[in-house]
Every structure is written in C-alpha cells, then in structure tokens.
C-alpha cells in the first residue's frame, strides 16, 4: 500500500491556512517546543494510547481523528460537557421569552379586540412559544458548541505539522502539550511510541509571534465593517432626536409620488410657472354660468326675493328635505328649535363662556322672521358675522329647502291654537304663552 505521508518537496510547506514556515527547505526550529504529536494506525490503537496517556497522569493532551471515535471520551477521561444544560436553559428562555413577547405586545401594550376574544389566551400563543423555544435552544446548541470548543481558531501550532493535515482524511493522532506538568522531552515521546505510534513528532511554535496572531488586515476589516454596520443605526438614532425640514426619505415610494400635478405646484410648461390654470377672461367654466339670479342668488329685479324660485315645487317633501339638511348643517349652532342654543353654544356655556347663535324664530326680535327669503338664502350661501358660508357644502336646491324649513320652524315655534286645523285641536294642551 502507499504511504500517504511521503515527504515530497513542497508538500509540507503549508500550514492549514497555507502559511509558509519553511525558509528554503530547512526546518524552522528556533521556536519553543509546543508539544509532541504521535500518529496511530487505527481508531482502536488511538484509543488505547489515549488510555495509557491518561493513566500516566497527563491532562493537557488531545486526540485527533477524521470522525468521532466512539469510546474515546471515556478512554481520555473527558468530562461530560455542560452543553445540554446550557441548551435547556436556552430553551426555557425561549419559552418564557416567547410567551412574554406575545403577552406584552398583544395583551399589555396594545390589546386588540378581535371578535371579543380574550386578549390573552394561551392556546393561540402556544405555536409561537414553541417555535421560540426551539429557536433559542438551537442557537444555544450551535453557538454554545463553538464557544465551548474555542472555535473559530484558524491558527493552531499543530497545523505546522505535515501529518496533522491528514487528520481530516485518514490520520489518527494524539498530541501532548509541553505545558503539561508531567511532560518530559524524553519520556513523553517514548510513552507514545511504546503505545504503538507510527511516528512521533516534536512540534515547535513559530518563532515569529506574528504568525500566531490574527493578520492585521483581518482585524482592520472586522473593525471597519463593524463601524460601517453601525452607521445606519447612528443615522436612525440621530433622526429620532433631531428635527429636519427635509421631506422623508422614501426607499419604496409606494404611491406617495405620482406623475401628476396638483394645484399650487410649480410647472415649467406655462409662463407663470404654475400648474393650475386660472379662469380666462370672458369665459365661464362649464356648468358654472348660474345665470338664474333668483335660483342662484335669491335676487329678483336686484332685490331679495320674498318668494321661492320657480324650479322648486313647494310641498311637504321639500320641507322634509329642508328639515334633514337643517338638522345636519344648522342644528349644531342654532339648535333643533332654531332658538340658537345648539350643542356648540351649550358647550360654550358649560365651559363658562357666553355665546349663542342667532335665534331664528324669535318673535320678540323678529329680525330673521322679517328677512326676505332671498336674504336668508344668501346668508346660508355666503355666511353672516361668525357664520361661514355653506355654498360649498349644500347645493342650491337644498339651501332653498332649508329656507323653506326655517319658515316652517318660525311658524311652528310661534304658533297659536288657531294655526291648527279644527279637527286636530282636541287633546292638544297649549303651553304657557311662549317666553319672549
């Protein structure tokens, strides 16, 4: 059979990471002795050797093999790792953390009513608590294993030994470190040899300390990339504590920015640089002519009309329409009875102020009662004193309907028994004379 360990030129110049140690064929021996490395033929022999080394009282030794050799833990006297305990702790942390996270988010910080279901109900929270248990336990086993194994460690003195590079292939090695209390430059190799070693090598540290340290460029790279990775967080932290007049930075604009112009935006196309186009002199926008003075402005021959426009049929339906509009737009201030004590004045009174809206039905001061219909219409359209105009909210016909309803309100609020048709009068209790 062939011996894989032939020492061809060049074959031994590389450490595991390809670090050169050789200076022109001569071995470098000036470094301190790190330990001895013995090779064995089979896993079984390695195990026996390990047992002998352990029995001889060595503690700073290790076996190296391409796969885990079963029974070697006991032979070497390796104590059971505490890793399972750590993983159990990680798993418990995952369960509790998962439950706490869900409780805090959905039951405490932001309870969210979904079909009246309880904000905190364990069965619905089991799947995520289970997954977080597994996740943290998996992280603990993975990272815990590497940390306990003191890996990653890309450099090790044994990598300088050529035979050691076959440990991931077919070699079974046993290494004893020189720092072991029982280490002896004569006796230790002899012990290993007597245990049936194929070879025993002394392994020396590289005299150049730099070879044992992380190359500077790797350190620099790690520091630089860590620093760069912190930049986004720094920017976010700064943004949270400072003010800016600049608009938000949109990574994904969604539909916030659309290729269209809104009013009052600049636009290069026109001379005045504005996107919106004003009315041209001598033109009227389509549907905005409003030539009928009576209907659109309440004017008849230049004076407020006392009647109603011809387009409207005065009937109960129109009064009801007016009532509906009145109750939507007018009652907040004028009140349902039109006496000017709606919700807003009541609120003003409740907060200690004194303001009331115009009494629309006041017979003792009949300003509104005496207003022509056209003026009432105009007041609704364009406002009066603190009242704003409702032209934008209420179409013309509805404004007329409100005028009609106000008239009805004025009549009803100041009614006498005579106003009621005779066959409806029975059973009606007239109140005291209406207070002025």
């Amino acid at each position: 059979m062939t011996d894989e360990h032939t020492h061809g030129p060049g074959a031994d110049e590389h450490g595991a990471m390809g670090t050169l140690h050789d200076d022109g064929g001569r071995a470098v021996r000036t470094g301190r002795l790190y330990g001895v490395l013995a090779e064995y033929d089979t896993p079984g022999e390695l195990m026996e050797a390990a047992r002998k080394v352990r029995d001889a009282g060595y503690t700073q030794f290790d076996c190296y093999s391409p796969f885990p050799v079963h029974g070697i833990d006991e032979a070497m006297g390796i104590k059971r790792t505490i890793l399972p305990l750590l993983i159990f702790g990680g798993g418990c942390t995952g369960t509790i953390g998962g439950l706490l996270l869900q409780w805090w988010c959905n039951a405490y910080n932001w309870p969210w009513n979904i079909s009246g279901k309880p904000a905190w109900s364990i069965p619905a929270n089991v799947p995520i608590a289970f997954e977080s248990t597994i996740l943290i336990a998996v992280f603990t086993s993975f990272f815990g294993m590497w940390i306990l194994n003191k890996l990653p460690q890309v450099w090790h003195p044994f990598f300088r030994n050529e035979r050691f590079n076959h440990v991931t292939d077919d070699a079974f090695l046993l290494g004893i470190e020189a720092r072991d209390r029982r280490f002896d430059a004569e006796a230790t190799p002899r012990l290993l040899s007597d245990a049936g070693a194929l070879s025993v090598d002394n392994v020396y540290l590289d005299p150049d300390r730099a070879s044992r340290q992380m190359p500077k460029w790797i350190t620099a790279f790690i520091v630089a990339s860590t620093a760069f990775a912190l930049i986004p967080f720094a920017i976010a932290a700064k943004a949270r504590t400072s003010r800016s007049t600049e608009p938000h930075f949109h990574i994904f604009p969604d539909m916030d920015f659309q290729p269209k112009y809104k009013s009052d935006q600049p636009m290069d196309m026109f001379e005045d640089g504005r996107a919106n186009r004003g009315e041209l002199a001598g033109t009227v926008a389509r549907g905005s002519l409003n030539a009928d003075d009576l209907f659109y402005r309440g004017l008849e021959n230049g004076a407020w009309t006392t009647g109603f426009p011809r387009q409207l049929e005065i009937n109960e339906q129109l009064i009801r329409r007016g009532k509906g509009r009145f109750e939507i737009y007018c009652t907040p201030c004028h009140g349902y009875d039109g006496r000017g004590m709606g919700a807003v004045p009541q609120r003003v009174a409740a907060t200690g102020g004194a303001w009331q809206a115009r009494n629309l039905v006041d017979a003792s001061n009949p300003v509104v009662i005496n207003m022509p219909n056209g003026q009432l219409f105009n007041t609704i359209s364009n406002g009066y004193n603190t009242m704003m105009g409702y032209a934008a909210q209420i179409p013309h016909a509805d404004r007329w309907a409100i005028v009609l309803y106000v008239r009805a309100l004025q009549r009803s609020q100041n009614a006498s028994l005579d106003d009621i048709p005779p066959d409806h009068r029975s059973g009606i209790q007239m109140p005291e004379a209406p207070t002025p």
């Binding site: 059979m1 011996d3 894989e4 020492h7 060049g10 074959a11 031994d12 590389h14 595991a16 990471m17 064929g25 071995a27 033929d41 089979t42 896993p43 079984g44 022999e45 026996e48 290790d62 076996c63 190296y64 093999s65 391409p66 796969f67 885990p68 833990d73 390796i78 790792t81 399972p84 996270l101 959905n106 109900s121 619905a124 929270n125 289970f130 997954e131 977080s132 597994i134 996740l135 336990a137 998996v138 086993s141 993975f142 306990l148 890996l151 090790h156 990598f159 030994n161 050529e162 590079n165 991931t168 292939d169 077919d170 190799p189 194929l198 070879s199 025993v200 002394n202 392994v203 969604d254």
Partner: protein, 464 residues
C-alpha cells in the same frame, strides 16, 4: 521536511491492521472530494446549470413585473384569493421536510444508511425553504413591508398579531430556515476542514483560505468531537419536533379557517405525511441522476434508495388514507357544506386535478411493493417525478377547489393561472436547481466524516 523534529518515525506501511482502515477512509475522502476538486465541471452539470439559470432568470423577470405592477398580474381573484402562490409555498415547504427527516429523525433512530444522503437532503431543505419563503413574501403585494412582521418597537405603535396562524407561519418558517442552515453548516464543518487540508496540501491557496475560513479551524480533536456530537444529537432532537410543528402550522393556515374542505383537524398529520412523501420524492429526483453523474453509487447505495422507496410507499399510503378519511368524515358528519365540498372536489370543475392527484399520490407509489421497481433507478426516478407532480396537485386541489366553491354560489368562480404565475413557479424551480447544482460542485455533498464513522473500519483495532 516537516517543520517538526521527527524524533521517532517508524512509519510502517502496515500497522496491526495493515493500514487497511486508513486506506478505506482515504478512499471515501477521495471519492467525495473529487467532485469539488475536478478542474473542469462535468458537461451534463454545465448543461443543467445553464437550463436552471435560464429558469431562474424567468422567475426574476416574473418577480420584477409582479413587484412593479402588483399581484393583479397573477390569476388570483377575489374568490380564489390563494392560488398558485400558496400552493407553491406549501409544496416547497413540504419538500424541505424530507431533508430534516433524513438528517434528524433517521439520526435519532440510528438509521446509518442516512449518512450517504443526509448532506444533500439538508441542502435541499434549505433551498426548498428559500423558494417557499418567496411566495408568501411576494403575495403580501408590498414585500418591502415584510419587516413589519418582526416584532420591534416602532413609530407606528404597531405590534404583530400573534394569534394569527399567518404569524405562526412567519415564526415557524423562520425558525425552520435558521435551524436547517445551522444544522447543515455544523454538519459540514469537519468536511470543509477536509477540503481545506486537501487544498492546502495541493497549494491551492485561495480555496484553502475560503474552505479554511468556513471550517473555523476545525481540528478533529476528541474534546471538540465530544461537544460537537452532543450538540448534533440535541440539534437533531430539536429539529424533529420542529419539522412536525412547521407543517402543522402551515396546515393551520387552512384548518383554522371556516371554509369547508379546509376546516378539519386531520390537516396537521395529513400535511406532515404528505410533506415527507413529497420530500423523499424530491431527494431522489435529485440524487438518482447525481449519483450516476458523479460516480457515487458505492456511497449512495442501492439499499439506501430502496429504503427510501419503502418510506415513500408508507407515506403515500398515509396520504391515501387521509384522502379517504376526509371523504368519510364529510359523509359521516352529515354536514351539507362539507359533503358538497368533497363531492365538488372529486367531480367539480377541478375534477381533473383531483384525479391527477389521486393517481400520482396513491396509485403510483403502489409500484414500490415490487423489489424490481425499488432496484431500478430509472423507474424510481420517473415515479418520483410523478409523486412530485401529484403532491403539487394535492395542495392545488385543497386550495383552489375549496375557494372556488365556497358558501355563496354568487361568488363561485374558476381559476386560471397567468404567465406570471407559471413564470414564478418555473423561477423557483430554477433557483432550487441552480443552488443545488452549485452545492453539488463546491461543497462536500456527502457527509464524509459521518460516512467514515459508519464504516466497519471505524472500529478497527478496538479490543472487544
């Protein structure tokens, strides 16, 4: 010369075992490593990579159109609101599960034959989960807001709704993905160290640095192996309930809804059995050509393939039992809607999909009763392909038939995919095969250290 001082060297060619054990271990290393070390890739590999890259490009284009236009480019409608996207999600996730099953469950049950296929099955898991994750992500319509699902303090004062099965999905699939990657990577470290040492010995410095960094300085020390094996065993123990939970959670997406055909307690076990079934089919769809191409038949042996065929036969019949049970319960429950849903499933507008599903998933695996079938790779390959098709249709049937015929007849509709549905599915197939081909070329495709540990030579020289 070694840099060390050779105090003693009686390097005999024959030890007590005549060096035979070492020779056998060397052979394993060599046979696996040659795939990655071959200076030029195999022509078939290049051709396959070309095809899969084109498929992947189609997928990227479909994603581009989808993201820039909106999910209206898909065939999904108000009625059939989950369609190919969720079908593909469930299908891919299910495929992934065989990898975990092979690496974790078979490890715990000491099925040593798993060592020849576990590495590639685990890789398949990761790539399949990557493909699966794309679909719900893209189905959100605005995938750049996917990070809202990660609970974190934010200016919107918004927390995820943890009682929703869709959030359970997020946690289950993320945990599954991370666990699979860590499990896969951890298993690969000793083999990456093997590659590192081989590259270093040959003077291939660049590769030695890459494999060296990835192998974290692994030394194969017994003290390290001790913790490593502990961690591996516990990871396998954690991955086993995880794999069952993941597909159960996926089935909750359906089972917790009130749609007839979805609202059923049989879903979790039924989905898990289907997942294992389809996953095994996918593993062997990949491995049967690969072991032929890369000359690995003496490692991925015929017995291993045969064992997998038996698992497919068993899980296929479980799936068949689930189909039958669904029908039985639909009848036995006396629920009108449930009864209609299942009659509609078999004889409604998607009858063709239903019968495709039953033939591929229940009838096709019956061929595995015959030893001659289990021993004929080409037949197994074809049957595996059919099972993949059948399992895809199973998910499609569950989703599309139930949605297309829900409670209100006014809402009934039919589903037809668009070219972007097809493009994205083809794209994920492309992504999957591309990643798998790259993995097969550059990574240790067989768990070298585990194969060595499972060989009789691993006990050479031990006193009994």
């Amino acid at each position: 010369m070694s840099t060390a001082d050779a105090t003693i060297d009686r390097h005999r060619p024959e030890g007590p075992d005549g060096g035979k054990a070492r020779e056998a271990f060397r052979a394993v290393t060599r046979d696996v490593a040659w795939v990655a070390e071959a200076p030029k890739p195999h022509k078939a590999w290049l051709a396959a990579l070309g095809v899969s890259s084109i498929m992947f490009a189609i997928g990227l284009y479909s994603i581009y159109v989808l993201v820039t236009t909106g999910i209206g480019v898909w065939g999904n409608s108000n009625t059939v609101c989950w369609a190919w996207d969720i079908t593909n999600f469930v299908w891919w996730i299910g495929i992934g599960h065989a990898g975990t099953l092979i690496s974790a469950v078979l490890y715990l049950t000491r099925q040593t034959w798993r060592v020849s296929i576990n590495r590639s099955a685990e890789a398949m898991t990761i790539f399949a989960v990557m493909c699966a994750g794309l679909f719900p992500l893209l189905h959100t319509g605005r995938p750049w807001f996917a990070w809202w699902m990660i609970p974190h303090p934010n200016d919107m004062q918004m927390w995820p709704q943890f009682r929703s099965p869709l959030m359970w999905d997020v946690f289950a699939v993320t945990t599954y993905m991370l666990t699979s990657i860590l499990f896969w990577y951890m298993g690969m470290v000793p083999d990456l160290a093997t590659f590192r040492d081989r590259c270093a010995a040959k003077g291939d410095k660049l590769r030695a640095i890459i494999y060296g960094s990835l192998s974290l300085g692994w030394r194969g020390s017994a003290r390290q192996w001790h913790r490593y094996e502990r961690a591996y065993l516990i990871l396998a123990g954690l991955a086993t309930p995880l794999v069952f939970s993941v597909h159960s959670v996926v089935s909750f997406d359906f089972a917790t809804s009130q749609l007839p055909g979805w609202h059923t307690t049989i879903f979790p076990p039924y989905f898990v059995a289907g997942a294992i079934f389809s996953g095994f089919a996918m593993v062997f769809t990949l491995l049967i050509p690969a072991r032929h191409l890369f000359n690995l038949k003496h490692i991925i042996k015929d017995e291993h393939v045969e064992a997998a065929c038996k698992i497919m036969l068993a899980t296929g019949m479980m799936v068949g039992l689930a189909y039958a049970t669904e029908f039985f319960i639909a009848w036995y429950s006396g629920n009108l809607f449930e009864g209609f849903a299942f009659i509609n499933r078999a004889f409604g507008p998607f009858w063709w999909a239903y019968f495709l599903m039953v033939s591929c998933n229940v009838l096709v695996p019956q061929a595995f009763w015959f030893k001659r079938v289990r021993r004929t790779p080409i037949v197994i390959f074809v049957l595996c392909l059919l099972i993949n098709v059948g399992m895809w249709f199973e998910r499609f049937v569950i989703i599309a038939t139930s949605l297309a015929r829900s409670f209100l007849p006014a809402q009934w509709s039919y589903y037809t995919p668009t070219r972007y549905d097809v493009g994205l599915f083809v794209g994920t197939l492309g992504l999957f095969f591309t990643l798998f081909l790259l993995f097969f070329r550059y990574a240790p495709v067989i768990a070298i250290s585990e194969v060595k540990g499972a060989m009789p030579e691993a006990h050479a020289g031990k006193r009994h």
